[in-house]
């Protein structure tokens, strides 16, 4: 059997999933790193669902974090004021997010990319400011408490049986919950983009009028993408904050949103998995880069960096990067945009996943040469009908 690159991809996927499952024991069940892993997965869901919206349908929404917050606030308020159970509120919150997504999606229909970006920024800011101002209803800047999920004892026992370190610390269940959510939502989005809607999404992204002329329901397609991605963001937000216990409006700042966008863009916003991996990679590197361990001798040479905002910690032997780690990250974002528009991770995935690798531009030229050869034959047999071969490579204007 012929070896194909896609096998590497499958292998890597397997390793990744295994790593995801074994992550808690791999990091020694350290609650901190499990929490970091869980947060990374949360961002991964957000980044990939944003890429569903921006990368697949070309709708640049800056309100993704706002939808995340909307779902969480809705769930929190349903629990507090309506008295729903957390799981009921989860479903309620997702539905409310979907409903608002539907309305916003319809409002934004006719808007081109830039207008949509501006409109969603406005929506996100209005929502955040209103949440912040309506202290009585939303808890204002103090945030809203979201009570944790309770897992029934029977189910606990089952998990305890299958996962030996289930009880090691309270973040392990939360981590697994998030990992399952990550996997399920990614699978769902993956199947969505492999379905006919995925093709419609991209057709609409490429050319709305042409897609409409081919019978693609542009309105429904765009709104569908908007609603689905908002609902996934809401779902992720609700589950995550059920474990964290509190949501504050500052989570929905445009600055947090730009982090999600940067994650998706660096990973590759036209590829769900690329965006998700980008988010995981960046979240971990931001944690790691907080302090870089260096030999003291080197650190003593770097003391001048303190003047521009680094802190050199000679006792601990680390260089704390403070704001500068974000600068590097911003630079990476801009360079990625300029030179690798498909992101850094998704081209690798595309390369691995390419079904019939031989069919590339090179083959196209080969095909054209073949055609020219046919032409030549015909030119001999029927000179009047054949075209001029020299013009064959010129594209039409």
């Amino acid at each position: 059997m012929k070896f194909r690159r896609i096998y590497i991809l499958w292998g890597l996927t397997g390793i990744f999933l295994l790593g995801l499952a074994l992550y808690p024991p791999l990091v020694g069940l350290q609650p901190y790193w499990i929490l970091v892993g869980m947060t990374a997965l949360f961002y991964a869901i957000l980044a990939s669902s944003w890429s569903l919206l921006a990368g697949y349908t070309g709708q640049f929404s800056f309100a993704h974090m706002a939808f995340m917050g909307l779902g969480t606030y809705a769930a929190g308020i349903l629990i507090r004021d309506v008295g729903l159970k957390p799981w009921q509120a989860t479903i309620g919150g997702i539905l409310i997010t979907g409903l608002v997504g539907l309305v916003i999606g319809y409002l934004c229909l006719r808007m081109r990319a830039v207008y949509l970006a501006l409109f969603t920024i406005a929506f996100a800011e209005i929502f955040r400011l209103v949440v912040k101002a309506e202290v009585k209803f939303t808890g204002g800047p103090n945030g809203l408490e979201i009570p944790p999920y309770t897992i029934p004892d029977a189910l606990q026992a089952v998990f305890r049986f299958f996962i030996p370190y289930w009880d090691a610390n309270p973040y392990v269940p939360a981590y697994y919950f998030m990992a399952v959510l990550f996997f399920v939502s990614l699978l769902f989005m993956f199947m969505l983009v492999r379905s006919r809607f995925g093709i419609f999404f991209r057709a609409v992204r490429e050319d709305e009028e042409a897609a409409a002329a081919l019978g693609v329901h542009v309105v429904n397609t765009r709104v569908l993408a908007f609603v689905v991605s908002s609902m996934i963001a809401g779902f992720a937000g609700i589950v995550f904050h059920h474990f964290i216990g509190l949501i504050v409006p500052d989570q929905m700042q445009i600055g947090r949103m730009s982090l999600i966008i940067a994650m998706a863009v660096i990973g590759g916003s036209q590829n769900l998995i690329g965006a998700a991996l980008g988010a995981i990679f960046i979240h971990f590197s931001l944690e790691w880069l907080q302090s870089i361990p260096l030999p003291v001798a080197v650190l003593q040479q770097l003391l001048f960096l303190e003047d521009i905002g680094f802190s050199v910690d000679l006792n601990a032997g680390v260089l704390r990067t403070n704001a500068w780690r974000m600068v590097g990250f911003g630079l990476l974002l801009m360079l990625t945009l300029r030179f690798w528009q498909n992101g850094l991770i998704s081209p690798v995935l595309d390369w691995l996943a390419r079904r019939e690798a031989a069919e590339t531009v090179a083959q196209r030229f080969q095909a054209e040469r073949d055609m020219d050869a046919i032409d030549d034959v015909q030119a001999i047999t029927n000179p009047a009908e054949a075209g001029n071969p020299s013009s064959s490579s010129e594209p039409a204007s």
């Binding site: 006719r110 081109r112 830039v114 970006a117 406005a122 800011e125 974002l333």
Partner: protein, 326 residues
């Protein structure tokens, strides 16, 4: 004809001018002029390059920091020098960024230019914010004032160091100064746009790139010029406001949001639109805050008033007040 309602006959003009509403409107107009200056830059960029710069607020922020650094490093430096330097610095940064990151777009080296433009300017804003956070630190900075009123007392008009009292209405000195500078800059800009060859060239490019290229205007140069000028106007607004407000690396975020509101309200790419839009936004914010029923939330909703107008205009009349057909 309709009979004149009694209420109109009862108008006491002195009462009006010293009334609460009038004061709010006056304050709104004063700050609106500065908003206009910022929005004019964004309009210029949009009309020539056909992109919205999401990094506009960061040029505003840098303009302020330049003045702050100059005035604190060199004590006794005239404030106007600081403002000129700030304008030059932001002009240069704008030009360099345009050359490096936006020109490939104009040359067609980038797929999907509209998406690229959104993301790359957004990336620039992200980048500049953190660079300035690294260099200047997160502590809010406030530049020393370089402007005090001479003591005047003419009855109707009197001054203290920082305030001009117009009848009963106190007007902030810093703002009056900022508004004067903004008006001068606006005038200079309009003169430049409508009375010089380069200005005509910019307008030509904004109306038809190809036609402009045919008559010997280099659209790429005009792109750079427009972006740099736009950045400079934002920098100028920052430079005049740094003495009024306090400066942090993310000070540009609400400022750029306001510019978005204005250019959409006035119509994307319309110069009169950005002027009128700025004034309208200033007044709406002022009146909204002053008249919102619940005082506890009035100021908290200040930015919301503008944003709601913004959302409504985008939704109902995306061409804005003076916009050209899309």
């Amino acid at each position: 004809m309709w009979p004149i309602p009694d209420i109109l006959l009862d108008i006491n003009f002195f009462q009006i001018t010293s009334s609460y509403i009038f004061r709010l409107i006056l304050e709104g107009l004063l700050i609106g002029i500065i908003y206009s200056l910022m929005a004019l830059g964004l309009t210029l960029i949009f009309s020539v390059l056909n992109i919205v710069s999401f990094a506009h607020g960061e040029f505003y922020m840098i303009g302020g920091y330049v003045v702050y650094v100059l005035l604190t490093r060199f004590k006794g430096m005239p404030g106007l020098v600081g403002i000129v330097v700030a304008a030059l610095v932001t002009f240069l940064i704008g030009a360099v960024f345009e050359r490096l990151f936006l020109q490939p777009m104009a040359k067609g080296k980038v797929d999907r230019p509209s998406e690229y433009a959104i993301l790359v300017t957004f990336g620039l804003s992200f980048f500049l914010q953190f660079v300035l956070l690294g260099i200047m630190g997160p502590f809010p900075k406030k530049a020393p004032r370089f402007w005090s009123f001479p003591p005047i007392d003419l009855g109707v008009i009197r001054t203290t160091k920082a305030t001009l009292f117009l009848g009963n209405i106190p007007l902030s000195g810093g703002r009056i100064f900022a508004a004067i500078i903004a008006l001068l800059a606006l005038g200079a800009m309009l003169w430049f746009m409508f009375r010089t060859w380069t200005g005509w060239a910019l307008q030509a490019v904004s109306q038809d790139r190809n036609a402009a290229a045919v008559v010997g205007i280099n659209p790429l140069t005009m792109n750079t010029l427009a972006f740099a000028l736009g950045a400079m106007l934002a920098g100028l607004a920052g430079a005049v406001l740094v003495t009024v407000f306090s400066w942090v690396p993310w000070v540009g975020v609400p400022a750029s949001a306001k510019s978005f509101v204005i250019i959409v309200l006035g119509g994307m790419g319309s110069i009169p639109g950005s002027l009128v839009g700025g004034l309208i936004l200033g007044v709406v914010e002022s009146l909204g805050t002053g008249l919102f029923p619940d005082p506890a939330r009035a100021q908290a909703y200040r930015d919301v008033f503008g944003l709601i107008i913004f959302a409504l205009v985008l939704w109902l009349k995306p061409t804005g007040l003076f916009g050209r057909e899309l």
